[in-house]
Symmetry: C2
Subunit: 219 residues, 2 copies
Amino acid sequence: MTPQTATPAYRRLSVEERRRQLLDAALTLFAHRAPEDVSLDDVAEAAGVSRPLVYRYFPGGKQQLYEAALGSAADELRQCFDEPRTGSPLARLTRALTRYLTFVDEHGTGFAALLRGGSVAETSRTTAIVDGVRRAAAEHILSHLGATDPGPRLRMTIRMWITAVEAASLIWLDEDKQPPAGELRDWLVDQFVAALSVTAARDEQTAALVGTLTRDGRD
Amino acid sequence: MTPQTATPAYRRLSVEERRRQLLDAALTLFAHRAPEDVSLDDVAEAAGVSRPLVYRYFPGGKQQLYEAALGSAADELRQCFDEPRTGSPLARLTRALTRYLTFVDEHGTGFAALLRGGSVAETSRTTAIVDGVRRAAAEHILSHLGATDPGPRLRMTIRMWITAVEAASLIWLDEDKQPPAGELRDWLVDQFVAALSVTAARDEQTAALVGTLTRDGRD
């Protein structure tokens, strides 16, 4: 037998590369099935590795793998909000929403299972990861709006809008991704401006921001 | 010893009365503590009965009691939306929101723990109970608006607003119930009109509804 050094059964990956490979396989599975319907066997098979190898990387089993995959998805989601400070604030929000909806589109089922709650894989730790992403989104938005010391009404408005965007994403997934992502995005941006405008009637800080948003337009 | 028939240690309650008494005691405890921090002993003590009695009514233990208490709270919440058809639709929404915020105020911690998710007491059954209340709220609103065959955009707008109201309630509890309930309520009604108005620009059915809302005013 000739040793086939050029194509080993398992290509040698670094620890970090292997971990990444397993998480990617898990995320792909979670994108199509609820967390409770994905086994470590499934992940091993999808990644083309043995079950013991998956256990070596995630000795805590399925729950640990799920939380690691969720943490990885959360990092990816945070990157959606990391928007360069060019163009008007509404143009930046539009770009961030485009990336966010692409993420929702790609992670479908896993995203929905997580936000819906009630999953057996859900714990206070997974809830904290999701809340962390929400907080990061709110901070990014306030920072892009130039609100360095946001009052309670402004903060409440932003957080309500973020929750409404999550709800819209879940409904969008349920309704076969209708309307098209671009239309949904523009409608969400309009909802953002409308929500701030309502608060502006009761809050000077928000009124000043809405003035700026209107002046800067969407380019 | 003289038998004290006038004040027995346990007043004889019917099965339904006893069940109601235990659920009320549980709901009061859940209003101040997270579900995982409430034991059957606590419920027995609060209701002034023995632990075995609590188990006789809820043989499934803590989880069964929690789900029954949740179901009872959900019924109470549904009654908040059961609004007579007098006055304009916005006046009815205002009255329903007043009752809803009273409920949130009274059920504080338990309400928050449930909506926040990640509670150890949360299962697909508890999630289904909460989703049922959301659906009921959406149906009530659409019915009061006279929308017998609501299209996807109108439905999405209503469901987004309901989620935003939940988020606002949680933030409100976090922020020592500021602003006062009446102000929060009026602001939420304004957000409702603003959200529908954004959708109206893209959807004829919603545009017709907004026209009616504006014409009918808030009395």
